[in-house]
Amino acid sequence: MQLVANIIIAASTILLVGLGFALIYRVVRFFHFAHGVVFTSGPYAAFLLTTRLGLPLAISIPIAVVISAALGATMELAVYRPLRRKGSSPLVLLMASLGIYVLLQNTISLAFGDDTKSIRPNTISEGIRVFGAVITPVQLLTVAISIGLLAAMIVFFRQSIMGKALRAVANDPVLANISGIDSDRVIFWTFVIGSALAGIAGIMVAMDVDMTPNMGMNALMMAVVAVIVGGVGSMPGLILGAVLLSAAQQLSSWFLGSQWQEPMAFAVLLVFLLFRPQGFLGKRVKNASI
């Protein structure tokens, strides 16, 4: 039971990061690697607000999420949009994204130091027993939040005009443009939403296992693997991918030792890239033109 619980907990953070990453990828069509540092920015912002300004966690966390969302949106406005205007290729955008990642991760290192920082409440709370597995309250909260946000995203996509416009841009950007959808506006909101999800995920992870400036890269890599394994552009696929990936990780650390977690994740990725590149439920990418 403990194993199952661990798989679900790991899957839910992968899911949150992957959801934001996949959302952004579907609309802008390049790998937004700086998503990793948006993830890191959440817990560090919360850390700053609680330790320097003395705010309680309950207040600093929502503010930190807003800061993460603003950070992602700023990347879009300051870097990606000007590059798109110049007609830059996805490869250029990807390199820019890596550049932002390295720059901001090092900025965080310089500002806060490379050592582990914590926003955990000081008292070590005893785990709760659920079906024979021991789970901390934070872990339980993480699972609840990611399920809640997933449901909220599904409603957003199905019901709101902005969600539909976002899917339209992802489906056929040229036709969406001709239909009068202001794609810049849609892309902006995609970054806001996706980055908020990353910030929340970062905070949840930090509440569980503390933070370091490079925590984002690991989280991002897992999200990318889950997105590819699940099939780019498929929400149920992403859930499957996250569960499969965390199952592979937890099983390998359970039976082989925790140092096997990451190699196993990339082994899963390689198997999928070689034998089923479209992922579980993804469709083959088609090129659109008029």
Partner: protein, 248 residues
């Protein structure tokens, strides 16, 4: 000064669209050379010509997908040379590109909603109800994924989508492309019905020359990016010799 006078003049005539000496193309390659034409209220104007003569480029330039290099595009007395597609949709120009393009991953109802993206929720709903009366086929399939519709139904959906914003000018790029002959007639009949019922002006690019000439009031024939002929559609339809010449 002269230019603004000309726009005032255009507003006084019943021209919906007036194009003068338009130059445009892709990258450095010029495709359109001094194209001039106009579309009046309630009028259907056909654009015909051999492959690669710039028919689609002309429509894309008007709707703002590719920039106009030089010349004048006047819509209802406004110069719209540099307008974005979104601005043009708000002004009343909609464009259905080649190949029955619909959002295949979205439902039929969602496709129509996207057509009215800039409208308010209420307007969108009432416009959708109005348009669905013209397309009873779609009404039964509102919740279906658009990619699962047949080719003819997808073209109907593409037409319905571009009608949602109550356009004054509708631009259609080869609505018959890829459709079976019987369906082509159905689509052309629908286009005629849309024109007579809503009074929208239509600029239509077509390869099926005889069918489109029968449908249109006037015709503009392009050849290598220049206007080879601009005149009465019915007259050209009867003049087989001239038609042959235009496509040589």
């Amino acid at each position: 000064m002269l230019k603004s006078l000309r726009h005032i003049f255009n507003r006084c005539t019943n021209n919906v669209l007036t194009i003068e000496r338009l130059k445009s193309g892709y990258g450095k390659k010029q495709v359109l050379f001094d194209v001039s034409l106009d579309v009046k209220e309630r009028e259907i104007v056909a654009i015909i010509g051999p492959n690669g003569c710039g028919k689609s480029t002309l429509l894309k330039t008007i709707c703002g997908v590719i920039p106009a290099w030089k010349g004048d595009i006047d819509f209802n007395g406004h110069r719209i040379n540099n307008a974005t597609p979104a601005q043009n949709v708000c002004r009343g120009i909609t464009f259905a590109p080649q190949g029955s393009r619909v959002f295949d991953e979205l439902s039929v109802a969602e496709n129509l909603e996207i057509g009215g993206f800039h409208l308010s929720e209420k307007q969108r709903r009432s416009r959708t109800d109005e348009i669905l009366q013209l397309f009873p086929v779609l009404e039964r399939r509102l919740q279906q994924e658009a990619g699962r519709l047949s080719g003819g139904e997808q073209q109907m959906l593409a037409l319905a989508r571009v009608l949602i914003p109550s356009p004054k000018l509708l631009m259609l790029d080869e609505p018959s492309l890829g459709l079976a002959p019987g369906l082509v007639e159905e689509i052309f009949a629908k286009i005629a019905e849309i024109n007579s019922q809503t009074g929208v002006s239509i600029l239509i690019v077509e390869q099926r020359v005889r069918a489109v000439l029968a449908l249109s009031h006037r015709v503009c024939s392009l050849k290598l990016g220049k206007v080879a002929l601009f005149g009465n559609a019915a007259e050209l339809g009867e003049d087989s010799e001239k038609l042959k010449q235009l496509f040589l």
